[in-house]
């Protein structure tokens, strides 16, 4: 058995699992985080996408042991108790998901993109989402949603900057 400890959505989580357990199985079966989905199990469809140490990866292609000591972000970690993440808001407003199965993977790929680049071009968005397959939507609204989310996040960071400046200059 492999003992693994990692930080999932900000919480320290641990488990003792057979070595051949993938990160996807660990998240779904041991941690009950069923947002990441099994679509193909070979890294083609992206439904299993999670963010490990800031990078979007196919969790079906990682062994649980490889996640030891790392920071994992799953779809369950995007929203807080008070509010949705702007990416979730944007996708909801754009109607960008239909059956929803590919959703968690797509949203996390979008997050990975927007964490690096708050002004992505359409081509950059397509590139970032090219590892996430969707059979329902045709992707068009997803691209709009990511652009929308980028705008929301830019506004947020401007607001925060303004507040910071205001605080800094406050007597």
């Amino acid at each position: 058995m492999t003992d693994v400890t990692m930080i999932v959505n900000g919480q320290v989580r641990g488990a003792s699992v057979p070595p051949e357990t993938t990160l996807l199985q660990l998240l779904r079966d041991n941690f009950n985080l069923t947002g990441a989905k099994l679509g193909c199990d070979v890294g083609d469809c992206g439904a299993c996408t999670v963010i490990v140490d800031g990078q979007a990866v196919n969790s079906c292609l990682m062994l649980a042991g490889q996640a030891e000591g790392r920071q994992i972000l799953t779809i369950e970690g995007l929203a807080s108790r008070e509010r949705l993440h702007p990416i979730q808001t944007a996708f909801e407003n754009s109607g960008a998901l239909q059956c929803g199965f590919c959703g968690p993977g797509v949203l996390l790929s979008a997050k990975a993109l927007l964490d690096e680049n708050l002004n992505p071009s359409t081509q950059e968005i397509r590139d970032a989402l090219s590892g996430n397959l969707c059979r329902c939507t045709g992707y068009t609204k997803m691209i709009e949603a990511v652009q929308d989310a980028a705008r929301l996040l830019r506004e947020e960071s401007r607001t925060q900057l303004t507040h910071a400046r205001t605080e800094a200059t406050a007597p």
Binding site: R13, E20, K37, G39, D41, E76, R81, L84
Partner: protein, 465 residues
Amino acid sequence: MNEHSRVLERDELEIAETLRSPDVDLRLPAVLPREPYPIEPLTPDARQQTRAVGQRATRSDARLHGLGQTKYIDDLSFPGMLYARIKRAGIASARIKRIDTSAAEAMPGVMAVLTGKEIPTNSFGPTFQDQPVLADPIVRHAGDGVAAVAAVTEQIANEALAKIVVEYEPLPAVLDPVAAMREDSPKVHAPNSNIYATKVVRKGDIEKGFAESDRIFEARFSTQMIEHVSLEPHAAIADWDANGRLTIWATIGRITLARADMARTLKLPMSRIRIIGTIVGGNFGGKNEISQEPALALLSKKTGRPVKGVFTRGEEFTATTTRHPIIMDYKTGVSNKGRILARQIRLVLDGGAYCSWSATTLGKACILSPGPYKIDNVVAEAFVVYTNKTMTGAMRGFGAPQVCFAYESQMDDIAKALGIDPLEIRLLNAFDEGSSSPTGQVLHSVVVKESLRKAADRFGWEPRS
């Protein structure tokens, strides 16, 4: 009383010690789902448009999808649940001489094994009940299931499949639907002919129509087999209660039909069967009938535990229904101005190993095959034929996309040959309000020409001849 035997008084404990911290891992946000419409729903007056049309509306499931909280079947699990896997034949046409499941049954962790012999009524299907739950004794395509296991882990279930020994006697296979129409072809469902359904649509006088035509165009068009590839694979969970009632969680889009099929295959009154249609991760027609559910139900009965079965992506391609490949022969007679006077069509649908929704597909394809055009003389003959290949069934369009490819391609060919603009030739022939379809249905709310013109305008279509 000494130190060691002193009982800690409750008052002495810090308040925090009496409470465990709440499970913050369960990050269910407190944000409430919003109302789907910005206005109150109204019952509209007859023939009046409801005010909801044209409004932006949020999907009611969007919130949970975005949160990753939507529970699909594979996200459900129950205490004691077992995992099922099905052994696939891997051979297109064969007779099973012998199945030896003893090695699999002896494996620790394997709780039950099932073969076709144990199925009370080993046949089902939405139109003809020609498909076995598990093949016994004839295998008709490589994706046919021949045995099923239920084990405590998927890993053990997979191993168990490898340990099941099946001896096959290979039989002749037919893989081409046109060849399968011949009398001397191997019969997939012997002794019946491989042609298992036909449809003919006739209108007017086809010979007269061709005689009056200035030009006649003949061509063969064919389309390929396509798989739905819904992101969510086929999955189901079966469980029995103490009173002998079966519950199936399934992604099936027609659960009443599924109940009837389950009742038939299990020889169980429908009143004992409850099917819960769960939220589905894409159907597109491929999840409209039962497949593994009777096997899961019997495994559950044998083991006394809930049994979950999830298809692998590979099984999605080999063991679920696909879109019919169709071989389409079109003979079209036109005037020099491009007006279609007669159209004769022969469709051969590759019907795969089992009927599934083929009869419906056949009907649709046949009726729609002349296209949305005013044609006075039509003969459309369609056949769906068994082959020893993957089952073909319902997939969005139900036969319409294939024939559309054929009649629109031929329209372009005719336009090019006659030197007519492809848009003009369509406007010349398309349905009008009150036109009658090839089957004699009088059509209303016909906007074909308006749509074409509008689209041409938006595309910036330049006339070409």
